[in-house]
């Protein structure tokens, strides 16, 4: 007799509802799980390993050893995985034995989404009733509004995961609009618990860049380090206090390393901006790139190092001057069918 071990193509079929419930009954899946566990123990015995501590990675290695395959597509190769990974999670049948669906909005098609909308609208009506009661008692409405700055609403994918149902963009935007309306109302604070389920904190954006404090070397001279990059150059710089404006690059004096005036002007710019031209010494190491990009890298690194010497307002002014931003411009790749990144081949009329 032919025994259905597992179905590979059926596992990736999208319309599971139409594929027929017989293949995926609970009893069937249980039997598959039992067979899988038994097969796992047999495999462990075959490989000479302990059946109790045989993990999925061991299974994968054993199968790759016992059934070597040269097929390119990994999904076409023999695999032995837990049935819950092979058979997609199917939505359990939505109706009971007598045929009556469990959920009262089943016949809409999107039952979880519409029931969510129904509940949210109910909260809205509650808030309105509360407002009317307060107005009837002539009390002023509460104006404590929930601070929306540090929080964001759920994204569409997160909501889909929550509801276990596909949503369209329109549906999602409607739901968010309803939530906004609920929050905007004066007495919206009553339903805070409900609203919290659909909002997430965003703390990452509020973290400020930490400016490192000054370090002191053996003679008691304050110094600080900075790193910078431009195109393919990488530079590390230490800026010392109580200096005379001497700059050393890779052990070589700046006049010898950068013969061109333009590069030395670039190095000078951060100090000129902060009016500290002759007050600091600088020792740099730079590698990669050409002369102009190395100069730009050292400029960025020295500006970052100087942040520790300077007040916050001056740091802000440096940032606005563009001294602290990494220049994102890199060499654009050449495309096929063109001579360069942008230049096309000569166009001939005939």
């Amino acid at each position: 007799t032919l025994r259905l071990i597992y179905t590979t193509t059926a596992a990736w079929k999208k319309n599971v509802a139409a594929s027929g419930p017989e293949k995926y009954t609970e009893a069937f899946i249980k039997k598959q799980i039992e067979e899988f566990n038994l097969g796992k123990r047999h495999l462990a015995n075959m490989m000479g390993e302990d059946p109790e501590t045989f993990t999925q990675e061991d299974i994968d290695r054993a199968i790759a050893y016992l059934f070597p395959s040269g097929l390119f597509d990994k999904r076409a190769r023999p695999m032995m995985k837990h049935p819950t990974e092979i058979f997609p999670e199917q939505r359990k049948i939505q109706w009971g034995e007598d045929g009556r669906p469990f959920h009262f909005l089943f016949y809409t098609g999107k039952q979880s989404y519409y029931s969510l909308m129904h509940d949210t609208y109910e909260k809205l009506l509650n808030v309105q009733k509360h407002q009317d009661q307060l107005a009837a008692q002539d009390l002023p409405p509460q104006k404590e509004k929930k601070n929306l700055v540090g929080s964001r609403w759920l994204t569409k994918t997160e909501l889909e995961e929550m509801l276990l149902e596909k949503l369209s963009d329109d549906d999602y935007s409607r739901f968010i609009q309803l939530l906004q309306k609920l929050v905007m109302m004066p007495c919206g604070n009553i339903e805070e618990n409900y609203i919290k389920k659909f909002s997430r904190e965003i703390s990452a954006q509020l973290q400020k860049v930490v400016i490192e404090p000054l370090k002191y070397d053996e003679q008691g001279v304050a110094f600080s380090t900075g790193e910078g990059a431009r195109k393919t150059s990488r530079a590390t710089v230490t800026v010392y206090d109580n200096g005379t404006g001497k700059i050393t690059v890779n052990g070589i004096d700046v006049l010898h390393y950068f013969p061109v005036l333009q590069d030395r002007e670039q190095l000078l710019f951060p100090f000129q901006f902060l009016d500290r031209v002759g007050k600091h010494d600088m020792v740099c190491t730079v590698s990669g790139g050409g002369r102009s990009s190395q100069a730009g890298a050292i400029r960025l690194a020295s500006a970052k190092a100087l942040r520790s010497f300077v007040t916050e307002k001056e740091v802000e002014s440096m940032r606005q001057a563009g001294l602290l931003t990494v220049d994102p411009r890199v060499k654009e790749r050449k495309k096929p069918g063109q001579e360069g990144a942008r230049r096309k081949f000569t166009w001939k009329k005939r």
Binding site: W95, Y107, G109
Partner: protein, 216 residues
């Protein structure tokens, strides 16, 4: 078994739905108010009592008869454990209709109607779906003032319909039309209350009869 299902069919008003409403209730709930003369549908003319200052007034005597027939029919369907689906595309009463359906233990659809819900159900829902045995329209037009697609689909799938038809609606394909206002909140609340009471009454009566038959 047999007596359980055949006995209610012997009486014209087995569940005594007449006592649930009176002419006065209908009048107070403004069920008799229709739309303006220009919106009048040709097939609603038999149900209209008259026209006052351009506004159509629905004949409440006929409404009483139709309402009694419709409520009796829903009670029988609920007694025989049928699936009832409430449909209303009026945004004002969407929440009310859904809550009514939930409290009855029946089903509601007050949202955008996807094309193949009834006619393509086996593909949209799965192969063992049971379709509704009765569809109740609390407002038989959709948001663009056209007849709701479900009226035609229910007729295609041989599902009986009960519907509140206003003066601008087409009562043709509805098996038990109820001429009456579908726009006032008071009228809608009255209909919801009546349907809820009939369904709950029929279901309770069924439970009693089942217990009674089991004891016998």
């Amino acid at each position: 078994g047999d007596g359980l299902l055949s006995e209610p069919l012997a009486h014209p008003d087995f569940f005594n739905v007449k006592e649930l409403f009176s002419m006065k209730d209908l009048f107070n709930a403004r069920v008799h108010l229709g739309h303006k003369k220009g919106c009048r549908h040709r097939f609603m003319e038999p149900y209209i009592f008259g026209c006052r200052l351009d506004q159509d007034i629905i004949d409440l005597d006929q409404t009483m008869d139709h309402l009694q027939l419709a409520l009796n029919f829903t009670a029988h369907i609920a007694y025989r454990k049928g699936i009832i689906l409430f449909i209303s595309r009026n945004r004002q009463f969407c929440h009310l209709v859904e809550s009514t359906a939930r409290e009855c233990g029946e089903y509601a659809h007050t949202r955008y109607w996807q094309g193949g819900l009834l006619t393509n159900a086996h593909i949209q829902f799965g192969s063992g779906v049971r379709l509704p045995d009765l569809i109740i329209f609390l407002s038989s037009l959709n948001n663009v003032f056209e007849p709701h697609v479900a009226i035609r689909d229910a007729a295609k799938m041989n599902i009986p319909t009960v519907g509140v038809v206003d003066t601008n609606c087409n009562p043709c394909l509805i098996t038990y039309p109820i001429p009456g206002n579908d726009d006032s909140p008071s009228a809608m609340e009255l209909y919801c209350k009546l349907f809820k009471m009939t369904i709950i009454r029929a279901k309770d009566y069924r439970k009693q009869r089942e217990v009674f038959h089991k004891l016998q």
